[in-house]
Amino acid sequence: MSAPLLSVTGAVKRFGGVQALRGVDFDLKAGEIHALLGENGAGKSTLMNLLSGVHTPDEGEIRIDGKPVTFSNPREAQAAGIATIFQELDLVPSLDVAANLFLGRELMRPGGLLDVPAMRREASKRLQAIELAIDPARLVADLSIGQRQVVAIVKALSYASRVLIMDEPTAALTVGEVERLFDIMRKLAATGVGIVYISHRLEEVPDIADRVTVMRDGRVAGITEPHAPQAELVRLLVGRPLDELYPGRAKSAGKTLLRLKDASFKLARESAGWQPPSGISLEVRQGEIVGLAGIMGAGRTELLSALYGTGLAGRWQGEVAVDGRPVKLESINAARKAGIAFVTDDRRGSGLMLRMAVGLNLVMSVIRRISPAGLMSARRQAEAVRQSFGQFDIRPKNPDIAVGALSGGNQQKVVLAKEILGNPRLLLLDEPTRGVDVGAKGEIYARLRALAAQGLGILVASSEMPELIGLCDRIVVLRQGRNVAEFNGGVDEHTVLAAANGREA
């Protein structure tokens, strides 16, 4: 058997006192899609950085076609044929697709002027090579995240074409976009490109990977074939069997907290790409976790933000009642007065004050309560912080460090804990576990279920179907801002997907 396309043996990497990699072996064959799984801190990013030349290993060896190589910077890795697509796509939104593809290597006319037509022609050719019909003259800002992802792939492959490393490429994609991306990856693999695919999403692995390497604590915890049962993957990931990622379901639901009957949100001004609720009927009862499913643009996020008054300006029509009383819900204040709390899908952008301490973030929604007569009470603040740390296992257990320094999972716990402190009766969650590792996910699910058991009503929108199916008591499917189907938790995924796409199951 010939040498693998890319191999790593005995890789060790230390950062100060922290040993990020403790002797890792990894290999990639030509034409293979190799999934690399691991929780935050398991070492997969470090391994990726070694392969892409961002860091050099302290010990161990990287070989390409069996020949040892060393990269002292990303350029050398690219020259050796390794292209990396990081999570934050390095595209310039205000430039068009062609300009992005040729950024730094622009085609010139004699005399130093840009040869725009030639760049557009060439860009078109490359995009069509993977059967993507994007006009190269379009601004990247106008593309969907999925399309941007593909532009980033084409750009990366134009630098280097043997190995493609993709860091969580599906994190921000919709179900349909993920399928298109997988098609493209398969086509590339068929031409002999080796792909390292890093992901949090276990459920995608069987669909796309030829082989799976699971990392834990800076080591390879196991190499397995992609159709290994999820329980096996989870066991490798977290180091012990995880009986149930999802907690049980509600034993009984109480009285109705939120009731929408033929409710529509009339926008003050129409806005393209913002699908307002139009004719929605649904209920959330005490003790219940209700899921909102739907394809991208079905209006899940829009429903939650319209209920909380954070979306576009407008007003509700039809029946909107909280606790049996009709409410208007036209502002954040009105929603909060009605006992509604909201956790955004964008914790870094609109959930947290990243540079401020964990403790200060936690009390943000209860400042009024901890400042009697307008004066901050250190005692009440400490009590509130203690309460949050008691409810959520936020690590490190130190309220004084900047919340931006925490892992994604712990940041998400802070956002949740912050809203729980306000004692809401109805909690609106948008993508509650985006970018959160499996361990923290399980913890968040368990916590949500415990809160529901105490009488909280929870309405959760998610693009992760297994999450909705595993967590929720009921799932309401939205399409074009309207509820089109409803299922009990535990329903099979294809049924929900069919309803979301408007097909018969």
Partner: protein, 358 residues
């Protein structure tokens, strides 16, 4: 607590192995972060030591430490200091107020005009001028929040407007303040702003500065409003979602800078016994420099009042040493420039160390 019990039963031994190694790492205190936290105090101490070393001496006496010299330093910085205190609120919300120097000029002119030409008494004049400053700030804040304009642009316009108003009120003349009883004269007690108390040691202007600083420190650190100010600068969208009245907070901080500028304008008129439309020219930049050297981030969400006070005095002390040594104002400007850059670089290094981006 019962909450925790429920969590344990609902959540049997949920592992969270990821955070453990991070915990050990994050508890270490970064010495650089400590330096930045107290950078202006450290800077002040360094400047003071430098002042002692490089001070000219007369008959063995270190001139820098002469009580009169120190009184001069703290008097000279009191007007920009008052403004810098107001500016700290604005900058913590990630805003900026360029109108402060112009509002100082307008206030000085109005103070002089009301007492001399208007025949108003001392108290009505002071109250009216302070109210004018507050209203000026409220208008700027309201325009900025209502029309979602950058405070930079709105207060740049405010600067022009205040200078224009000051020119109109003063007729482009110095309004001299004469003291005495009767119409056209200011009450003699107003002149106290240019004097010193406690056995001719502590300048009254400095006392105003210190009292204002103390009140501002309490407001920023111990009140709900103060917390809101940090929240708005920390992440405006997150603050809004958490129920913070963001627009009210923003309008209020510009009202505070308006008040501070008016107060500084009154002090200015009292110290110099006149009002002129050109008073306070460039003070906005000195005040911003003091705030930034004091460790307050222009990105918002972080900063302290103590830092601003130390930064203000440090700039004054530095200017004083250079003057004592007959060093030109040009060199003074270059030294200030170097200190601003140093303060900013230190802050940027800490941000990068904390992994919080640029």
């Amino acid at each position: 607590m019962s909450d925790q019990k429920i969590e344990r039963t609902a959540n049997p031994a949920m592992p969270s192995p990821t955070a453990a190694p991070a915990a050990a790492q994050k508890h270490r205190v970064d010495p650089l972060a400590i330096i930045v936290r107290f950078q202006s105090l450290i800077g002040l101490v360094l400047v003071a030591i430098g002042g002692v070393i490089f001070s000219p001496r007369r008959h063995g006496e270190i001139l820098f430490l002469n009580p009169d010299n120190i009184a001069n330093i703290v008097r000279a910085v009191s007007e920009t200091g008052i403004i810098a205190i107001g500016m700290t609120f604005v900058i913590i919300t990630a805003g900026i107020d360029l109108s402060v120097g112009a509002v100082l000029g307008l206030s000085a002119v109005v103070t002089a005009t009301m007492m001399i030409s208007g025949g108003f008494g001392l108290i009505p004049t002071i109250l009216a001028v302070l109210a004018m400053g507050v209203v000026f700030g409220i208008v700027q804040g309201t325009i900025s929040t209502r029309f979602r304009l950058e405070p930079f642009i709105v207060t740049l316009a405010g600067l022009q407007a205040a200078r224009g108003l000051a020119l109109i009120v003063s007729g482009n003349q110095y309004i001299n303040i004469s003291y005495g009883d009767g119409p056209g004269l200011a009450p003699p007690v107003f002149a106290v702003l240019g004097e010193r108390l406690f056995g001719n040691t502590v300048p009254v202007a400095t006392i105003v500065f210190i009292i204002f600083a103390a009140i501002a420190t309490l407001v920023l650190n111990t009140t709900r409003f103060g917390r809101y100010v940090y929240a708005v600068g920390g992440n405006e969208r997150a603050a809004r979602i958490s129920g913070v009245p963001v627009s009210m907070v923003k309008i209020s901080v510009y009202a505070i800078t308006g008040f501070a500028s008016a107060l500084a304008g009154i002090v200015h008129a009292g110290q110099f016994n006149f009002g002129s439309a050109n008073d306070g020219m460039g003070y906005e930049l000195t005040a911003i420099a003091a705030v930034v050297i004091g460790g307050t981030s222009l990105f918002g969400g972080a900063g302290s009042m103590v830092g601003t006070v130390a930064g203000t005095i440090m700039l004054g002390a530095l200017a004083n040493i250079l003057q004592l040594n007959n060093i030109t104002p040009a060199t003074q400007l270059l030294a200030t420039a170097a200190i601003i850059v140093l303060a900013a670089v230190l802050q940027s290094l800490v941000r990068r160390r904390e992994g919080l981006g640029r």
